[in-house]
């Protein structure tokens, strides 16, 4: 009998030793790091669920992080994806669910499919009606290159610096695509920084918008936009695809898919494809992308000096991009003798449509009858194209 009980106790002890709880307490240093990760995960859930900031992505990324930081679960194996070769047989044999989902990130499928959906949802009419706003989208890429410089100077490799710089483009899929090609080890930190700052745009941008503009400038009422013909709407995605990809072939996956999605939406004969790209497809891809990117952020790799530097540089990139757009907006205001409200410049960071909404809110605070939203949508969608071009420059230079 005693022997039987001893066996039962041994079995229970053996089982207890295999649980995540045992592993959690086995290494005090790892335990503290894991607890810090839970605090960060809690903060992301708070931002997404309570504050409703970018909830579709932050909820899935935060849950992916939770899965990656459950002791003993070992759902993701970064080592399968590092090195100069990708062994699909090994991934299929040794990989689990998250490893297989991560293939979509590694092969650059998810960011491009998300861009397909974004293109189908985006209305480029304000940009076509007021093409001057393209320059604001270009100026707002200043933060990308400033953050790249900062990262390079504090000791990051050029590939890592380019991945960090692209956070300033305020475009999650672009940041993910560049990072997975240039420096996949930073993917978790960069994706989380990019999406968190995109979510915090209503908090980050307004102080700088007020600091860099006068009350008079913020009150400027812009002329109504001209209507855009259907032919222009249809030719636009085809023309942009040709121009951008002929100059920067590396931007093809992003710009090509963005414009294809837009063509589905405007051509009038592919309504079903447009609806699928805008709803089912983008939702499914968002789940796969969010979970697999979040799962790359385990405590061991995430809590490090490079991650802290990325969080700081990412914020600097966002702020400098905002300032770049605003200052160029002021210049355009000066040149056009007060016809352009500089507040729409801050919308040049892509983050569609959040950045445009911020321009509208700040402008309306000064002049309640002012409606800047449609004017700000021009630089906003120009920023999407601008950040894809900036990404193309980095890929052309560093992807070798």
């Amino acid at each position: 009998m005693a022997e039987f009980f001893s066996r039962i106790i041994n079995a229970v002890a053996e089982f207890a030793g295999t649980t995540g709880i045992a592993e959690f307490f086995s290494d005090p240093e790892k335990m503290i790091k894991t607890l810090i990760m839970y605090v960060i995960i809690g903060l992301l859930f708070y931002l997404a669920i309570v504050k409703k900031f970018e909830p579709l992505l932050l909820v899935t990324i935060a849950f992916g992080m939770l899965l990656a930081n459950l002791p003993g679960a070992e759902l993701f194996h970064m080592e399968l994806f590092l090195g100069s070769e990708l062994d699909m047989n090994r991934i299929a044999k040794e990989g689990g669910l998250i490893d297989l989902l991560y293939l979509g990130v590694k092969l650059g499928i998810y960011p491009s499919l998300i861009f397909l959906g974004v293109g189908a949802m985006t209305d480029f009419t304000p940009l076509i009606a007021n093409p001057k706003s393209l320059l604001l989208g270009a100026a707002a890429q200043f933060g990308v290159f400033a953050a790249f410089t900062g990262a390079l100077l504090i000791g990051f490799t050029p590939e890592a610096a380019a991945s960090i710089g692209i956070i300033g483009g305020a475009d999650g899929p672009t940041a993910i695509l560049v990072t997975k090609i240039l420096e996949p080890r930073l993917l978790g930190a960069i994706a989380i920084a990019a999406y968190s700052y995109m979510a915090l745009i209503p908090i980050i941008q307004p102080p700088f918008m007020k600091l860099l503009t006068t009350k008079k400038e913020r009150s400027i009422v812009m002329e109504n936009l001209r209507p855009v013909s259907k032919t222009e709407k249809i030719v636009f995605p085809i023309a942009v695809t040709l121009v951008v990809i002929l100059i920067i072939p590396d931007a093809a996956p992003l710009v090509g898919m963005l414009m294809l999605g837009n063509l589905f939406n405007v051509c009038g004969v592919t309504e079903r494809l447009s609806k699928t790209a805008q709803n089912g497809l983008i939702n499914a891809v968002t789940i796969c992308l969010g979970v697999s990117v979040g799962a790359t952020a385990d405590a061991e790799t995430f809590l490090s000096i490079p991650t802290l530097s990325i969080i700081f540089l990412g914020l600097a990139a966002f702020v400098l991009s905002t300032c770049g757009g605003l200052l160029f907006g002021k210049l355009m205001c000066l040149i056009t003798k007060g016809k352009i409200n500089p507040l729409i410049g801050s919308a040049g960071v892509s983050a569609v449509p959040m950045a445009a909404r911020v321009s509208q809110v700040v402008g309306q605070k000064e002049n309640p009858s002012n409606f800047l939203l449609m004017h700000a949508m021009g630089p906003n969608v120009a920023g999407v194209i601008g950040s894809a071009v900036a990404a193309g420059v980095f890929l052309t230079r560093f992807a070798g």
Binding site: G83, L153, I181, R226, F236
Partner: protein, 142 residues
């Protein structure tokens, strides 16, 4: 099926994230690289978006301005007997041609209805060919 697809990715060999901060090149070289990429990058972004601006301007000319000018000419030639007071109002509205698109169709309907209500005339007696906002609306000034 052979799944052993070999692809070339980055040269990263270990999962150690701290290796990404191991830039051993001299500081001056890093500054030069940063300047090179910043100038090249900003120039490329501005150049590409400026070219798109040029393309959009051409699109406006050939797909919006010229067709609308033709349309306006044709419509002014075709226009039948119109109420003189309404014609005067239309002429005062300026050269902006009637534009296509669902928003304008709605606006034209609203303007037509407003003119009918104001003048008491039948909507068949005149046609809105162009319109332009005159000054700020009263509720804007409040």
């Amino acid at each position: 099926m052979d799944l052993n697809i070999t692809r070339i990715f980055s040269a990263a060999q270990s999962a150690d994230i701290s290796e990404t901060m191991n830039n051993t090149s001299p500081f001056s070289e890093r500054i030069l690289l940063a300047l090179e990429i910043t100038i090249l990058g900003l120039f490329t972004v501005f150049a590409v978006l400026s070219i798109i601006w040029g393309v959009l301007s051409l699109m406006r000319l050939f797909m919006y301005d010229i067709p609308n000018r033709r349309k306006a000419k044709k419509e002014s030639g075709d226009s039948g007997p119109e109420s003189p007071s309404v014609q005067e109002t239309v002429a005062e509205a300026g050269p902006a041609a009637l534009r296509e698109g669902p928003d304008d169709a709605e606006l034209v309907s609203a303007i037509t209805a407003a003119i009918c209500a104001y003048t008491g005339k039948d909507p068949g007696g005149f046609r809105v060919v162009s319109f332009r906002r005159k000054g700020r609306l009263r509720w804007d000034r409040s």
